[in-house]
Amino acid sequence: MELLSQIWNNLLIEPMINSLVLLYSICGSNFGLAIVVFTILTRGLMFPLTVKQSRQMKAMTALQPKLKEIQAKHKNDRSKISQETMKMYKDQGVNPIGCLGPMFIQMPIFIGLYQAIMKTVPSAPENLIVLSRYLYGWLPINREAIPIDSTFFWLDLARPDSYVLPVLVGISMFVMQKMTSMPAMDDRQAQTNKMMLWMMPIMFGVMASDKILGGGFPSGLAVYWTISNIVGIVIQGMITGWEPLINLLTFFKTKKKLQPALISAGVNEALIEEQEKNETDTDDRENSRGRNRNSSDRVRRKSPRGGNRGRKQR
């Protein structure tokens, strides 16, 4: 166990701490900026893996029609479906869990960065002595940079924020999930996808806040996660396109304009809710194939038929 701990420290924690402190010196004694630069550099190193992941997802999306065929063909035989599916993936050179690679690499980085931030910005004098053990002797600039000023705008990067940063973590993660979500094959999968789409951003957002029991993780880590998500969104957009993001923005914009208009046109509110549910479950990539799912157009087509019935008087 001690050996594992030593490997963890030597291979991950020490390089992280020294990188952060060096960047702090380079970035004009700004720890927040140092974390931002660190994040961009880390994502840069992971870029080949991220590109591979995105391409895997794109390939899997393209295989969706064939998957549906297999499911329809072997409706009552789950093992046959599994077998045919894996055969198809193999023939096409697609790895179904390949898209998880970056996430699993992000986990130790996340944990390591948490430890590195707590050690780099010590809260008590004895912790400063512990920090001195991690600094490389051959890098005197690091020794002279201590102690670190952990202030960044309104944040103390060694302590959790209350609201703003947790919300940014949640939103950035939601958008990232939306950009990388796979189309659902059936209702059950659609439900699961929807659950994951909301659950993870909320969970991470809550964990980033100081309002939870135990205090939440430091805002320096939340800055890392937010920037990492933003970089991930940009990379994803460049590789697979911006339609999911555009559709998301369009959806919210349309919903905002649409609801009062619908109500005043006498469209049944239950119909509006069903409309919204369909919009949420829609595969954004299917939009890019040209199927016209523009919600406002569809409503406009409906409106004349419903216009003479039950128009509500203002």
Partner: protein, 416 residues
């Protein structure tokens, strides 16, 4: 794709568990023992003030005082060695409270009433009837990160329920350019402090008026040594500075070969200034010129030196992590050969205190107070470790927490 979801959920769960398993760093305190007559008075890591017999290591008939921290208080501990004046011990806690207790019966005279709302790391200084307290940053969110120096007048009187009572009033307070982690010290009627920004200040003790200040450009956390009108202090850049106390001018500065920070107060022996670094070495510099004469030990195998080394009968004695060393420097040359070493088993966390009978006292990370006898550089265990706080109830022969240590009163079985 459900198995993917399960994998992701497990990964999130493991992340949460890992993060929760990483303990938040907490304060603990590292105050050195205070030696008074035949007593050792110490503010322990268990937030207690205890009194122990210097000769036997037994309890004295003085009840330990438990510092009344709030249950959720994160800033605990006393870092600065308490200061004693006319039967009263003064100490300050990390969460900004000042206490005073009687050395005779342990009764509380000042019960943390003077809450400064700033972290206090250095020891308070009693000088010319006034108490001086130097502070680090403010406590709380969006805290002010500059330090302050406070001066309080102390007037003693007979209390209603206690032997002594004191009137404790603020004379002045001054804000400086950064946090103060060191203890204030004095030269004639001036108070001298060092800051994390690398500034050394001198103030007139009565008024708080500044005499001079000088910035060396590197963090200073150690209390300086003052000897014959010159101040000596080491900084984080591995440089030792000598400053004229009258003018504030730098007399010399020596960029030593130290690979880590200077943390403790330097000491001196004849014409040498001895500065201990966290790289585990002691650097000997000529007092007049600052020229590096020697460094010891020469290899990298020793642990960091946190406390000030002692000079006892021509022998240099110091603690490095979990070992105590002594080496002959009576010739003023670098110690020759290997030093005498005593393996304590756990980290020594305080500066060494020393009495005239040739005994050294210190505190250890396993919540014990320990002692060694030193005789011509030869180190031997004196009495068995004195356990403090909750650890007092444990079996003294329990090997588990002591890494195999099995203390007895039989000196022949000592590990040194």
């Amino acid at each position: 794709m459900d198995h993917k979801i399960i994998i992701v959920l497990v990964a999130i769960l493991l992340t949460c568990m890992s993060i929760s398993c990483v303990s938040m760093p907490s304060s603990g305190g590292r105050a050195a023992p205070v030696l008074l007559d035949d007593k050792i008075i110490i503010v322990t890591m268990d937030e207690q003030v205890v009194a122990v017999d210097q000769n036997t290591g037994n309890d004295l008939d003085i009840q330990p005082y438990q510092i009344p921290y709030l249950e959720k208080e994160l800033l605990k501990g006393v870092y600065g060695t308490p200061t004693v004046n006319e039967g009263i011990i003064y100490f300050a806690t990390y969460n900004g409270e000042i206490y005073a207790t009687s050395i005779y019966d342990g009764s509380i005279i000042l019960n943390g009433d003077r809450f400064i709302n700033r972290k206090i790391i250095g020891a308070p200084l009693f000088h010319n009837g006034n108490l001086f307290v130097a502070t680090a940053s403010e406590i709380g969110k969006n805290q002010n990160k500059d330090g302050k120096l406070y001066s309080y007048s102390i007037e003693k009187e007979q209390g209603k329920n206690t032997l002594l009572d004191i009137n404790f009033n603020e004379n002045w307070e001054i804000e400086v350019d950064s946090e103060i982690w060191s203890s204030p010290t004095y030269w004639n009627d001036d108070i001298v402090i060092t800051t994390l920004a690398g500034t050394i200040y001198s103030f007139i003790s009565n008024s708080g008026e500044e005499n001079w200040h000088i910035n060396v450009g590197s963090t200073i956390t150690s209390t300086p040594l003052i000897y014959e009108n010159v101040l000596y202090v080491g900084a984080y850049d591995g440089v030792v500075y000598a400053v004229d106390l009258l003018t504030g001018d730098i007399k010399w500065k020596q960029n030593t070969s130290a690979k880590n920070w200077y943390w403790s107060t330097p000491t001196y022996y004849k014409d040498l200034v001895l500065a201990a670094s966290l790289d585990g070495r002691i650097y000997a510099l000529e007092m007049r010129s600052g020229k590096e004469v020697w460094k010891y030990p020469t290899d990298d195998s020793y642990g960091e030196i946190i406390g000030t080394p002692l000079i006892i009968d021509g022998f240099l004695v110091w603690a490095a992590k979990d070992e105590i060393y002594s080496a002959d420097i009576s010739s003023l040359d670098a110690p020759k050969g290997n030093s005498e070493v005593c393996d304590i088993g756990k980290d020594v966390i305080s500066t060494l205190s020393y009495n005239d009978n040739g005994s050294i006292f210190f505190t250890v990370s396993d919540h014990t107070i320990r002692t060694l006898e030193i005789n011509k550089g030869d180190l031997r265990i004196d009495w068995k470790p004195y356990r403090t706080g909750e650890y007092k109830k444990k079996d003294i022969n329990d090997k588990g927490s002591d890494g195999g240590w099995n203390p007895t009163n039989d000196k022949n079985l000592s590990r040194c």
